[in-house]
Symmetry: C2
Subunit: 382 residues, 2 copies
């Protein structure tokens, strides 16, 4: 991974490093497409095979049949696209976690404005105690926040800011008891590649992921897992030749499976790149084994941070995955990010809650952790 | 261009070959991103510079300020995305050319169904006489088809099936006289890189293009030029961090320029690849000079086809650009495509009107043309 060769990297939650074999797979895919095509009868079996192979692999990762996956350009498209075609009624309520990404929140706000829906906030950002207690707190918060008009709940699997894990399957089970059976949209931006997602992806109606963060695939390719009822109830909104069951027929009938949310030409070599990155991850162990390693690193960082005076991790216990967020008394987070960057150590700051976020992956090394803790200690003391 | 080395290629309108320097530019971009980032303070100036540089170049090609361009994954997204946020009134009429791509037609049909709009057809497919006469026929057809409720006209710049050129600027001028001042959506899938587009792109409200056909860029990157009034009137629908004026602010305010229709993470290396391909095209001459060369090749093909008994070009005169469509008496188009493919000669068939389509670009050679004509002659005689 050339990206890791010349820096101390803690921004896996922003974008993961691309392994050299994956870049080579991308290049090889382009060469194959040019050799066989680019637009010939000879190239289609290759293109279809590349896409299908990734679909099958992601179906295994997500624990849903491949027919329920749709490929997207990024995780946001996966979250937002299916929403616009749902049968909303004026007055329906969207219950949105208070630690969601601003893009998804803005999309819901626009949807609400155009369809005369109501917005409500689901408090989860303050659930920072032990994983078990936090999950109970989230379910209590859900209980208090549901109303008879709740029609959609929006929640990330792994909160991008606090790093807390949300009890998605339990949330889904609770929603199934609600008279409206509200749809459950899960932003999986931080989860695919870092925590096992199969249970949550199978429980959600919309479970949107990207390949370019924890999966260490190329930027520009994501996937969304959709429930059977979602596929029945949601009409496609962004429609192109890939949406259509038969491009040459005049019926305009849509695919009934996940492809109804695919649009038009995508970059096939990216599919080859993501396949390569997923294969490399699989070679490092099961998703449980990889999470254990990620947590080992994040726990070491969390503990080390706790020993620096004026540094306060957001979570009360070692993180459930690889996101380690913390505040530093009397320091501007953006300046601190810049100073660490000058030393070749990269993390990021977040606006709400205002904090710094360092991510550990299976590729994180003991010397990465030492370097981060040492530099922080020096900068905080300075 | 490796794609052209081992075949006789006439599918530029499906996908253009990727020049080796552009594939190298893509690889180099990925290496730079990994070296500087992928997610660090050091990489952002490079990413921003790569995107801005392509934006400036495409602004020159499209004859509009860069602020009025939005990058998209493909041409369909460029056509469809801005439509969903326009202030429609029930009963508004969408007047759609009868030779448009099925994807765009299906998208308009869905929009009409959800917003209670009416669909009407603008007959242009039969305009197959000389360019000048065809353009007059299209304007007459428009005159007959406009109603007081017309609110949008959808027309390709270069029809993907007949290969006829539409008088976009004249259509726009006529629409400006209409009391509703209907919006004009132009599908530029076949035009950018084959014909000069600046006049048409500046006249349309939505002028959507792709980089992977006549521009010979990588698949997965398109651009749409938007009018000032469109940017004022249309709200974004697919919303993500790139849509937002300030990702970290809670206001959720959108960019006022073209970026309001951009969504989230795209594949930056594709921007470097398309820049490379456009640079290579620029080195071959002005857009007028390149069109002259394309037309020289398409005229030669058109003339040759006319000498084969039972082969009938769709257009009455040599084509205005590089699309040469024709029918063959007593032959199934799909079978003919397959037989030519077996000889390493690639064109495609189209469903409506049922025909074969061969595209000539500046890279087309006399021997390509000879090979196609010779093979057709043999297969038709057989």
């Amino acid at each position: 991974m050339p990206a890791l060769a010349n820096k101390v990297y803690f921004n896996y939650g922003g974008q993961g490093p691309l392994p050299t074999p994956s870049l080579e797979a991308i290049q090889a895919s382009w060469r194959t497409i040019q050799e066989l095509g680019p637009f010939t009868g000879s190239v289609w079996p290759y293109v279809e095979g590349t896409v299908s192979s990734l679909r099958r692999r992601l179906a295994r990762w997500c624990g849903v049949p491949g027919e329920r996956l749709a490929f997207t350009e990024n995780v946001t498209s996966g979250c937002v696209l299916p929403l616009w075609g749902l049968p909303w009624q004026a007055g329906d309520e969207l219950l949105i976690g208070d630690a969601e990404h601003p893009g998804v929140v803005a999309a819901c706000r626009e949807l609400a404005q155009r369809q005369n829906l109501e917005l409500a906030s689901l408090p989860v950002a303050e659930a920072r105690s032990s994983s078990e207690a936090a999950q109970a707190a989230v379910l209590e918060s859900l209980e208090r926040s549901l109303t008879p008009r709740t029609r959609l709940v929006v929640l990330s699997h792994l909160l991008w800011n606090t790093g807390q894990l949300m009890p998605i399957a339990a949330v889904a089970a609770r929603l199934a008891q609600h008279p409206n059976q509200p749809w459950l949209l899960v932003d999986g931006a931080q989860s695919l590649g870092s925590v096992p997602v199969a249970e949550a992806a199978a429980a959600a109606d919309i479970y949107a992921c990207t390949g370019h963060k924890w999966c260490c695939g190329p930027e520009g390719l994501g996937v969304v897992a959709l429930s059977e009822r979602l596929l029945e109830q949601a009409r496609p909104t962004l429609i192109g030749w890939r949406t259509l069951a038969d491009e040459s027929a005049d019926t305009g009938a849509f695919h009934r499976d996940g492809r109804r949310f695919e649009v038009a030409t995508s970059c096939t070599p990216l599919f080859a790149g993501l396949s390569s990155s997923l294969t490399l991850l699989e070679a490092e162990g099961t998703d449980q084994e990889r999470l254990a390693l990620i947590r080992q690193h994040s726990a070491r960082l969390w503990e080390g941070l706790g020993t620096i005076a004026s540094v306060h991790p957001l979570l009360a216990e070692p993180p459930p995955a690889g996101l380690v967020s913390f505040t530093v008394e009397g320091q501007d987070p953006a300046t601190l990010v810049q100073r660490l960057g000058e030393r070749g150590i990269w993390l990021r700051n977040l606006p709400d809650p205002a904090c710094l976020r360092a991510c550990t992956h299976i590729t994180t090394t003991p010397s990465d952790l030492e370097a981060m803790l040492k530099a922080l200690q020096e900068l905080v003391a300075a």
